[in-house]
């Protein structure tokens, strides 16, 4: 059976989401509020980059043009990246980072659970591996949302601001387009719209425990899946891609 022509694009979306957020999280290394948090965020980043390596490796295989995971990560320009806008946003303060992580991991966990039953067995394998790791990420982020939200006046204010800021990027994580609809029809992709009620229920449950109000709903922004990114992604890539682009054949 010939591979679905959209599969490469889909795998880039899945891989880029993990790669870019993983890269963002590494910026906390050595700067987090406590040693345990520092270790936690670094571990999350490591998991996400590991998952991205598998997903982009498979993308390269599917494409069949000899590009491996490193080639796709380090030698693609900003317009060719397919991650959602949420993951490329700057870390902000710790509460903003936690807000972004909670929203992303909750959505990602539901998506991966669905993908463990994907009709593309290599994708299902990666999802089965990743879903166990991401469950830890959801727990970590939810614990912190509750701790900050139900904490001091300042931690509460910052948590509310963090969730309000990142809420505008949530809808894009549940968007379907012809690429994903075609794959979902073949049982390869998951229908993201069907995941939204579960996501909303989980978010509401955590916000209630954190004694937090529902986020203020601003106009949703989107565009990452077709390469229309915010200004922040280019700066992130400039840092991430510097070494392999400056010394293209370097190995260690």
């Amino acid at each position: 059976m010939a591979a679905n022509p959209h599969l490469f694009d889909y795998l880039l979306r899945l891989g880029d989401d993990g790669l870019i957020l993983g890269q963002r999280l590494t910026e906390w290394c050595g700067h987090a509020p406590a040693l345990e948090v520092d270790l936690g965020l670094a571990n999350l980043g490591l998991d996400l980059i590991g998952q991205a390596t598998l997903l982009l490796g498979l993308a390269g295989e599917v494409e069949g043009k000899g590009r491996d995971a490193d080639r796709l990560a380090f030698h693609r320009d900003v317009l060719a990246y397919r991650n959602c806008l949420l993951v490329e946003q700057p870390n902000g303060d710790f509460a903003q980072t936690i807000a972004r992580q909670f929203l992303f991991s909750t959505a990602r966990h539901a998506l991966l659970e669905g993908l463990t039953a994907s009709a593309e067995p290599r994708l299902a394998e990666i999802a089965a591996k990743a879903v166990k790791e991401v469950r830890y990420h959801v727990d970590l982020a939810a614990d912190w949302v509750i701790r900050l939200g139900d904490g001091t006046g300042e931690s509460r204010r910052r948590m509310i601001e963090g969730l309000d800021w990142f809420w505008r990027f949530v809808d894009e994580m549940f968007d379907m387009d012809p690429v994903e609809q075609a794959l979902a029809a073949e049982g390869i992709a998951v229908d993201r719209t069907a995941l939204r009620p579960g996501f909303d229920a989980k978010v509401n449950a955590v916000l209630t425990e954190a004694t937090l109000p529902a986020p203020v709903y601003p106009r949703a922004v989107r565009g990452g899946r077709i390469g229309h990114h915010t200004e922040h992604l280019g700066h992130l890539l400039a840092t991430m891609q510097f070494l392999p682009r400056t010394y293209p054949e370097a190995v260690w």
Partner: protein, 168 residues
């Protein structure tokens, strides 16, 4: 793949010698336990010959070091023609750590996960025994520890911190 397909299938004696050679390969992060006891070596395939390994965590930085160490051990034991293949499915679980491996971890100061814990509960709500004094009056300090596969715990009886293998 083509090289493997052309090679002679392994007999039971050869499989035994391969597993014996790999049982001497330590995990790079936790050298008291072998990659076999940790469940990273999934087994030997006779035809076409291959050693099958699996990563603990998808982002584990030790994965490449482990693959290299397995390669070196195979070459040294006269099995240079046997390739090393990485499998993702079924995903690695702490339930694959052998009894001997669990004992070694405990002696080393790392609380091993109870057998079957990964299947029962990921959060690990059951009592965790301090590997030093045996007390179950322990608490989680951080769910993420010095490596992806470990969490940081503390014993309230002897007050010592210890690593715990995450149930996974």
């Amino acid at each position: 793949m083509t090289v493997a397909a052309a090679a002679t299938p392994l007999d039971a004696a050869a499989e035994g010698r391969i597993m014996a050679a790999l049982a001497a390969v330590p995990d790079p992060e936790i050298p008291v336990i072998s990659v076999v006891d940790l469940g990273i070596v999934r087994g030997v395939r006779a035809d076409p010959p291959a050693v099958l390994i699996t990563p603990t965590y998808s982002g584990c930085p030790a994965t490449i070091a482990i693959e290299t160490a397995v390669r070196v051990a195979l070459d040294a034991a006269g099995f240079a023609f046997v390739p090393v293949e990485t499998l993702l499915s079924p995903p690695w679980t702490t339930d694959w750590i052998s009894e001997q491996g669990r004992d070694r971890l405990r002696e080393y100061g790392i609380a091993p996960p109870p057998r079957g814990a990964a299947a029962r509960s990921l959060r690990g709500d059951e009592p965790v025994e301090c590997p030093r004094c045996g007390s179950t009056d322990t608490m989680e300090v951080s769910r993420f520890g010095s490596t992806p596969c470990k969490a940081l715990w503390r014993c309230r009886s002897c007050l010592e911190p210890f690593d715990r293998f995450k149930c996974h």
